[in-house]
Symmetry: D2
């Protein structure tokens, strides 16, 4: 779910007039084109990161009421407006990334209840950078942040707005540098029965939801290097969530004519793990024989 | 699901009269007290194994028609007779061990179809030592053995009858030795973060059925040695089936105050494996840190 | 290097007269039969541990001068008296356990220098329970304890005397219990190429000295369980030292006809580790294929 | 030990006249500029590999006497000529790579004996591509090839000449492709105690000779990625030999304040392995905690 338009180069952005500048960046902060306007005079920007820091500084050094207005301009998560489509395109894309546009009635009710409790306590909408979380993680954050005091929560909301802005900016502007908004999840299968990468191992990659639901994200197969041709996740944050990789090593060793039992001791090897740093590199390999395996978090 | 009566000692069995002898052993072979009778004269037996070998020899050196009569005296698996309770108590207990007494209508129909096909081809009931197999494994054996020729299948049926007889004999007679009819499944959790056995790790032990059904067999917790107080399975064959152990290592490391991520990289560690040798010792340990683990089939 | 005479049973010890009692236990504390005498009246002892606690209490609750006299009754480590054989038989056996009776001239000079420095500072001999340490560990303790103040060092010396006494008592008295003075070092080789214990793997067990010297302690071979018939060390403390196990896995896999490279990737697998708890159980296994292995401290 | 002169580009080589062509390639085959001359007419070559295949074809399709003359033009290994410096510069550099220029008198005598036995049997010098072997491996090959028959050994000698030629050609000509004459040896240290690459682990890389001699090849330290800044070996074949990596993990975990024993269970972790494919990529990592580690051959 990417930003539709092609990104503008930083070079060009440094050249366009105020109108063009705001057209390009006005939506980086939700309903707040003033942020883009306020940094126009600071051009040229040498890097996308410099531009991003200028924009966040404009918010951080703004008046408390301005910050609160920015916060309040955000829609409820999985709220009525979202359900009726009455939110910005960016918000729509973002909320759909965590499947908030496909909630069951029960889940919708849970969000409704939490939104109300949150508004009642803090008098503002609950803001979270949805692309950095799975649905369970959003609910956990919701419950947790309801315990915060006002000052902490205002700060937390601004932090989330900056995460959202960084991702939006990254999609809109191409510069010599790249904001550190993307994680990467990769795997590898090493056959230590024969001392070489395992080729042709079928892999399923799933998200495990707290309710026990298992959602297939991807099916793939290892190449001659024992890797997948593309990372399992790249070019986006890895949503904080629980995942499972299932490696069909039984079929692999049968094809390789390794001596195995019938049925094989290891058929499907499931590796279940959670991601807690959406912008990090997670490498989750297995080193496997017909009778043993090991795994670890690499990077 | 054990034999109800207390076992007789081999010593006593060597002393009782023919009637007592046949009363004790007459049901070891289904509807075939003649096997017990035929070995009465060979008393005394020094070991249970010697007794068992005498009984199997009586069958193996019998006439072909006698062997076929023995085979035909067995009930259908999950058949009409079983459903209506019209089978021996031993058979009832055995069939219930693989939950053949709790089949869905679809499964019952599958068994019905296979029983008919088998009878049509071989003119005898399909015999398998049910205690050595999970339901899926029985169905796989059924399909596989339907491909056999008559001679092979007759031999296979006798082999299964001997497996059944060995288990029945083991439950009826206590001697200085024990027939090798029992497997053993154990586990161990080693915390290699702190270099000692992991105490208090919650474990779920499940059977995984081909249809995706997961059946909880046992919940337990590791003791100060990192082991379970009792083996997961002992004193019986380990049914050929696919199993999963789920280790709650996330909770363990949180309690141990090991530095973990939020959510922890490893919450539940699932180890899925199949048993192919019901009488063997399977030791399936994990060696685990908050960021890695390995497992292997030990013994 | 065991105590020569057969141990007396606790039962008998509870029955003998004062003379017999002191004859049996008089040498448990070096040149201090009064310790044995002082607990004679407390008979009978239900366990060896109760006896041991009574003897240590007699020392601990004694006068400071009595304690110091006990300390001073000990010979220098690797000192002139030891060199000339003018020490008790127990001391001789103990000092030889760490090869202090076979020092090079340089090592003898180092001990001489440390003994003098220690006497100059504390006015007493350096006491350490030699059976719990390799030579390097003794030297490290020597250097370290030279930094202590008088009170700490007097307490440390008594603690060492109790370690020595426990080992002497354990060799002299056999009771219903056993003092916790023995460690245990074992190993195991699991062939996870073929999923079973590795039989016939030649093992060398060595002590590594800081100077780089390597001393062969034992040559052995794995049995059908992948273990050694006897533990590598048992029935004594494991001296604090650095060790190396060398497993000839290349020859093993060649005999097993596993497909290996020429020369094999793994020929000798060396596992180097140090023991820091002489009374603990160290289990140091390898799980190995022709292309990989892992090890860990088990127990 | 690299070829001194800067390589010529394939493009230029395709343009120069016959004299320049032979000047550039005349020494690729020892004392056999005719090989270069014979492929001059086939220019231009699209790749270095095409050029190499043309040169080897010229030898392979040549007359048997020509081949034998080529073979006989090679000097003895560690022979008198080599000792006196009376061999080509290429040969000098090559022989020194396996330290054949620094043999002990005993080793020199062994080579002398083998050279004589080989010449007596085959009437030609023993040829081996020295850069692909450690000294022990050369001696093993020598003994092994002495068992060959004449035809096999002639073929083997030509194969070795092609290995030598490929390495010489690779150093002389730079093209769009690269001949597959280089291996690569790398390592990695993953700290699975804290779930990240281990930075600052001191590593010693050694060659282990059969006689027990250990030769330090390199000292290095892991960088923030847990890798070494440069591969342990790259840009050359990895000589077939036995190696040992020694990782100072005890110091690392002490610096990281991981709770370790005193002395630490793991101080130096030695990983001993042999290379059998000089042109392959060997990745030999460790995954380590204060109490466990694993290693495997990766690529």
């Amino acid at each position: 779910m990417e930003h539709a338009a092609a990104p503008i180069s930083l070079e060009e952005l440094n050249r366009v007039d105020r109108e063009g500048f705001v057209a390009a960046l006005g939506e980086v902060f939700e309903h707040a084109p003033w942020v883009a306007e306020s940094v126009f005079a600071a051009r040229p920007f040498a890097t996308v990161d410099a531009l991003f820091r200028a924009m966040t500084a404009a918010v951080l050094y703004g008046a408390a009421e301005t910050q609160m207005a920015l916060i309040k301009a955000h829609p409820d998560l999985a709220g009525k407006a979202a359900r009726e489509g009455a939110i910005t395109d960016d918000s729509k894309r973002e909320q759909s990334s965590a499947r908030l546009d496909r909630l069951s009635e029960e889940e919708f009710a849970a969000f409704h209840r939490l939104n109300n409790a949150y508004r009642a306590k803090f008098d503002m909408p609950f803001i979270i950078c949805v692309r950095r979380h799975g649905k369970d993680s959003i609910l956990r954050q919701f419950e947790k942040r309801l315990q915060n005091d006002n000052a902490t929560e205002r700060e937390t909301a601004l932090g989330e707005i900056f995460h959202i802005a960084a991702l939006r900016l990254d999609q809109r502007v191409a510069g010599p540098d790249r904001l550190k908004v993307h994680g990467r999840l990769s795997t590898h299968v090493l056959d230590s029965h024969s001392g070489r990468p395992a080729q042709g191992v079928a892999i399923e990659f799933l998200e495990i939801e707290a309710a026990g639901t298992v959602r297939l994200l991807l099916r793939t197969t290892t190449n001659p290097d024992g890797r997948t041709d593309k990372p399992l996740i790249a070019g986006q944050p890895i949503p904080t969530a629980e995942y499972e990789l299932r490696f069909a090593v039984g079929n692999y060793f049968a094809r390789e004519k390794a001596p195995v039992a019938d049925p094989p001791f290891l058929g499907i090897v499931p590796i279940r793990f959670a991601v807690a740093e959406p912008e990090a590199h997670y490498h989750v390999p297995i080193i496997v024989t017909p009778w043993s395996y090991s795994t670890y978090r690499g990077s």
